[in-house]
Symmetry: C2
């Protein structure tokens, strides 16, 4: 059952919000690295950088610089200054979210640090929209990033090792996307959100994150349709974050078991951002930046033009650390659903 | 200027919210380890555990078990089931917030993962209160934890090394606090929040976190007083999270420079939770769990009884990772202010 504010009854266990006063995505900014600039979505990004160090000495600082650049782009497109933003919601993949802390520090916006693995862009957009819809400020900023260099170092091996990558592995996108969510009318509004639960099928292979995340995506899509009393046909497309080629197939199968056919409607940012064959990216792209830059660069323009009227955007995350992995823990997933509409 | 909802004017740069319909802290649960059970606050905690592994094989799993136990305690005290909770806001200190992901997984509550270092209990309470006040559900759950064993391994040295600890260092509290925030009237309400900005004085000593965090606490307290048009006298006490003995002195000095004297009003959870001399905890306690269990066990009962009418609770966090530290980055701080009132 959809809830529309204080006076509505809240169904037990229901996890969605339908906004009475939908907030708008006022502007966005996206910055990517060299490999993304050679991929199929290249022309859609605001800024492509051939120097993956973004002028820094370390991968971590590079990611911070990239994130700050995305924020500044989003602010300048909306003709806003950092002090116009009430709250910032941001996060990344690195331990203790350090790319975000050091990236947005200079903006001096009151901030909420988030961690939702690659689902963080969904989490940040959901909280931004919830804040604006509640009247806690006219503008919030949602930002996330990932960087191939820092992520490989964090989760796998330093790049200098030149390790081999299994076919199920995904390539972390070097990119950052920032979104101003506000009350000022634009052509895209966030009409609702479905907040994800942790879904754990007991998978332990951190090199097959598509499989780890697909059950969470299926759960969130299922509950989104149920909570909003919609069918798949009510969406022009359903776009997951970074399930990649393997997770995509699993998602289709899991939903089919529940009688939901999204085969024709499903897209995945991790499948769109790289050319699998020529770019040698195995199961596809991944990382907080993957869904964020694809939304900012490729998805929002289509919504603005009205090419798509209503879509469900579902960033997906795999909740693991090298420590939990080494200790034999499973890799549960989480996915947040954001309903975006042309207006 | 205080903002009270959609129709109020929002002052530029202002970072506080005054709730028109204040949410209540309906119940709380706190669980601590062996060292905390020997400290001055021992008798106030719901559960003290002499087995710091909490029945697990690893420190990380121990922290997860402890966090789940705190949630279950808070739920049972409020006579609620997990499915009665609309959203969970939680986080911890470990990389990729793994103690929380694996700790709350079994509850199956739609969740927002957070990272605010030791300020996370403030961040979780702020977002919980903002959600409930906005009508996004009748009940939310805010939970945070820290564990001495997992934190030493994450940030410093494995316990087996028996390394020496500098006098400025703080002792990470083994503990978890969970709070049900809801619309159901209790004797303590969250009447407002002041969301913190990242404050960076350029300090680089990760073994002196009190000094790194004190400027952020000073900034948040300063803006809380300004935004709410209050003076120090309007609070019965101002309680920071884990500045410890060194951060405490710096905070007093920094605010004195702005003409604000909190000397008589200031308390710090990190100074209260251990006996500095007999427990050999150097500059005091720290960790997400420090502020959370002190709030749940010691502070809330005083508010309930009306011994304190209105207090400002300010959990403080140091935003660093071992990678940022090794790369020579500074350790900025962040602090969130929660206004708690007897009712």
């Amino acid at each position: 059952m959809v809830r529309k504010g204080r006076k509505m009854e809240f169904a037990k266990g229901s996890q969605s919000i339908c906004f009475e006063h939908s907030p708008y995505i006022v502007s966005s900014g996206c910055v990517v690295g060299s490999k993304e600039s050679q991929g199929p979505l290249s022309k859609w990004f605001d800024k492509t950088n051939q120097d993956d160090l973004f002028g820094a000495d370390t991968w971590e600082e590079a990611e911070s610089n990239m994130q700050k650049e995305a924020c500044v782009l989003a602010l300048s497109k909306a003709n806003l200054k950092p002090e116009d933003i009430r709250y910032l919601f941001g996060g990344d993949l690195l331990r203790q979210g350090i790319a975000t802390s050091l990236g947005v520090e200079a903006l001096q916006i009151p901030m909420f640090g988030l961690y939702g693995a690659c689902s963080t862009s969904g989490e940040a957009l959901a909280l931004s929209a919830m804040s604006v819809a509640a009247g806690y400020g006219n503008c919030t900023l949602a930002v996330t990033s990932s960087h191939f260099g820092s992520a490989e170092k964090e989760f796998r091996f330093p790049l200098g090792y030149a390790n081999q990558r299994p076919l199920a592995s995904q390539w972390t996108v070097t990119g950052s996307g920032a979104f101003i969510v506000g009350t000022k009318k634009s052509q895209v509004r966030i009409s609702g959100v479905t907040v994800g639960k942790i879904v754990d099928y007991g998978l332990k292979d951190s090199q097959n994150m598509g499989a780890c995340m697909a059950p969470a995506a299926a759960d969130t899509i299922y509950w989104n349709l149920k909570d909003f009393e919609r069918s798949v046909e009510d969406y022009d497309t359903i776009i997951t974050g970074d399930l990649g080629y393997i997770g995509h197939r699993i998602l289709i199968d899991l939903l089919a078991q529940k009688g939901i056919d999204i085969q024709e409607k499903h897209k995945d940012c991790g499948m769109m951002i790289f050319d699998q064959k020529s770019q040698d990216t195995n199961a596809g792209g991944s990382g907080c930046g993957c869904a964020a830059v694809t939304l900012a660069g490729y998805i929002l323009p289509k919504l603005k033009k009205g090419e798509w009227k209503r879509i469900l955007f579902v960033p997906t995350g795999a909740l693991m650390s090298t420590v939990s992995y080494n200790e034999g823990a499973s890799v549960p997933g989480i996915a947040h659903g954001i309903v975006l509409e042309h207006c």
